[in-house]
Amino acid sequence: MKVALHGLDLTVSPGEVFGFLGPNGAGKTTTMNVLLGFANATSGSAHLFGTDVRQPIARQRISYLPEMTYYYKFLTAEELLRFYARIFRIPKAERERRIDAVLKLVELEHARKRPIRTYSKGMQQRAGLAQALINNPDLLILDEPTSGLDPIGRMKVREIIQRLKNEGKTVFFSSHEMGEVETVCDRVAILHQGELKAAGTVASLLARNETNLEQAFLRIIGFNLNSSSSSCTSSSLLLAS
């Protein structure tokens, strides 16, 4: 039996933007699945704002943006947001105000009454971002939020993350885009083969490895740049913030 995660011990502080990095199959999505209650950990515990993740109330103050756009294609963006807003018990007047605000933020006002199945990939991703913002969450869990977006789309997502950070929100996101991680993140954690290899501020990680984040990442996961094939020797490196 393959162990997806082993000995992962992480704490994310309020108000920080936390980057969760790792190659494919490292365990990033599994970590998010446990945090969101989609999967149960075989041992250990996970808490959101002090509440066990297995309690539905733990998800009252969070939102989740999946990597792929998983929304009801027969609904319009407006109907989708209204549905999710009803789940959070947002009063009607406040609900409509928030729908208008988030649709304006993600630039989907012009398409709000069209079914999501008619949207382009970028528009669907923006609809996803809108649903992640509708409840004004304190914590956003984003699974590769810029995946599949063009450079303009990626820039807009980075702007939104920065804006959320300025508002004091906590953002926990996984990404393969080292450039954007370096730009927006306060701290990062690097996962490899289910184990935490490094955690700390971007600055300390770069200082320790005397290189850019991408090179540091490859070095930490044991990818040997000098040979023609990769070697996967594990290294355990924990950095204090």
Binding site: G37, F38, P56, Y71, Y72, L75, E79, R86, N135
Partner: protein, 258 residues
């Protein structure tokens, strides 16, 4: 409750935006109108044959709508992965299941109401007689029947691998109960012994869906039913709905979503 009702609303919206119900309604209306326009040999009893055919069509359509709508709810959520952003909210799997059940049931009830109104207009136009209480009782029992079938199908959808399997198996079970279930007890009495005991056990274990089929009440213009009988049928149906939904929840809550 607001979460359950929110999920219910999405199910009804989906039903309205799919074409299934409209196709069935159109076909039923077309066949009924064609039959209603025929005047065979000046036979005054043609109205009774018309009612029988129309009600049979309505029953077939209701079984199709109930089973096909409910069979795809949970599997479609898993396949399209819309279950993930939904369960990432403060929503439990029980609420999702109840919302899906209420949504499918409400959609069936709305379709049935349309069918019965149409049927009432057509048969009333032929007979010049509108026993509205009888029609209402038949509609009520038919809606209860759909509730049991929807709950059974939802259970099937979390047990079987694909919606097509669920539709086939539940379809066979429901038609089997409707056509053969009522005879099980009689056969058990005739056969006797161990086989009779087995048949009787089966008869009392399955939901006796034939109790909700009161087409003869309308076809032969029988007097209206006693309301206590309908209340008993409602309680009986509610018990089976509860049983199927609890079983479905126990399976769904442990189901891997990937």
């Amino acid at each position: 409750m607001h979460i359950i009702l929110a999920v219910t609303g999405v199910v009804i919206l989906e039903m309205i935006r799919r074409k299934d119900v409209y196709v069935l309604l159109f076909l039923t209306a077309l066949i009924t109108l064609l039959l209603g326009s025929v005047n065979l040999f000046g036979d005054a009893n043609i109205a009774r044959y018309l009612k029988e055919v129309c009600l049979t069509l309505i029953w077939i359509c209701s079984v199709v709508i109930a089973i096909t709508t409910a069979a795809r709810q949970i599997p479609a959520e898993k396949e399209s992965r819309t279950i993930f952003p939904l369960l990432a909210k403060p929503v439990t799997r029980a609420q999702v299941l109840l919302g899906k059940f209420l949504g499918c049931w409400a959609a069936c009830a709305l379709s049935l109401a349309l069918f019965y109104v149409f049927f009432c207009l057509v048969s009333g136009a032929r007979e010049h007689h509108w026993p509205l209480v009888n029609y209402f009782q038949a509609l009520l029992l038919h809606i209860l029947f759909c509730g049991v079938v929807v709950a059974l199908t939802l259970l099937g959808s979390v047990v079987f691998a694909a919606p097509s399997s669920t539709v086939t198996i539940v379809g066979v079970v429901v038609m089997g109960i409707l056509l053969l279930g009522r005879h099980l007890h009689k056969v058990a009495l005739k056969v006797g012994g161990l086989a009779g005991g087995f048949l009787d056990t089966l008869y009392y274990s399955i939901p006796n869906l034939e109790w909700y089929d009161v087409r003869d009440l309308i076809i032969h213009n029988w007097p209206r039913m006693d309301w206590t009988v309908i209340a008993t049928d409602a309680l009986y149906g509610a018990a089976f709905i509860g049983l199927f939904l609890v079983a479905a929840w126990m399976r769904f809550r442990r189901m891997a979503l990937n």
